[in-house]
């Protein structure tokens, strides 16, 4: 089913292009978007469980580990992305929602929030 189809028709290619943003987003914009995802109650709401050393993070919860030493804890940024995408893979009873697997956030939002927390 998911096997790459070589007979991808022209129409679907056009559709792909149409849904891709025309202007590239800068790194700064990505981090700002990631922060909005981190703080937003109806978005990632990461702040409800993870403390982060950002002056705008008020009353963060502590159900999960704080966002510190991210580069040491996740030398491979892709592994951090995978953890955000589905934390239940490593711990089946975790309280952390599978943000990617359950399509709570879009893949773009996950990329952005990973960029944001990877600074800490």
């Amino acid at each position: 089913m998911r096997k790459l189809s070589t007979s991808m028709c022209a129409a679907s290619l056009l559709a792909l292009i149409a849904t891709t943003p025309a202007i590239a987003i800068t790194a700064e914009e990505t981090v700002a978007e990631g922060k909005a995802v981190y703080m937003g109650k109806s978005r990632g709401n990461c702040i409800s469980c993870h403390q982060i050393n950002d002056p705008d993070a008020n009353l963060a919860g502590n159900q999960g580990p704080p966002m510190v030493a991210m580069t040491q804890r996740f030398p491979d940024k892709r592994m951090l992305r995978a953890q955000v995408w589905d934390a239940s893979k490593n711990n089946p009873i975790t309280i952390m929602p599978p943000l990617g697997k359950h399509w709570i956030l879009s893949e773009e939002e996950i990329d952005a929030v990973v960029e944001y927390i990877y600074q800490f």
Partner: protein, 140 residues
């Protein structure tokens, strides 16, 4: 000495066999690490990390195609509702998809229907997993 090697071999080989990835595991790991639109290799073949629903939504943006995907999503959602695992936002996505058809935005309708169908499909997976694993957090 031979015996020792044999023991080591069993210890080493057994877990290696146990951690061989199924297609679903490989798909999930690659999607988790790279997002959508990424190509990975499994068992010597190339695959995309796109969800089957994302592929289904990539058809011509016509009314008929949108209606057909909405119908599929509804059928999946009825199935997951039957086992008590319907998600909160699915019906709203379907409603929005229908509204998008009304306003002639068939591309939007397709994308929303795809997400609704994905929610329902993963809800069913969640139910199947829970049937076998719900005891994991029961204190002993």
């Amino acid at each position: 000495m031979k015996k020792l090697i044999a023991i080591i071999a069993t210890v080493v080989l057994l877990p290696a066999a146990a951690i061989a990835e199924t297609f679903d595991e490989a798909f999930e790991m690659n999607r988790a690490m790279y997002g959508k639109g990424y190509t990975f290799t499994w068992s010597g073949q190339q695959y995309s990390t796109d969800h089957q629903e994302e592929v289904e939504a990539r058809v011509d943006a016509t009314k008929a195609n949108a209606e057909s995907l909405i119908a599929k999503a509804k059928a999946h959602n009825a199935e997951v509702a039957k086992v008590g695992f319907e998600w909160k936002l699915t019906k709203g996505l379907l409603k929005d998809a229908e509204a998008a058809i009304e306003s002639g935005d068939y591309r939007k309708a397709l994308n929303l229907a795809a997400q609704a169908k994905y929610h329902a499909r993963i809800g069913l997976q969640q139910h199947a997993y829970a049937e076998k694993n719900w005891h994991l957090s029961v204190p002993q």
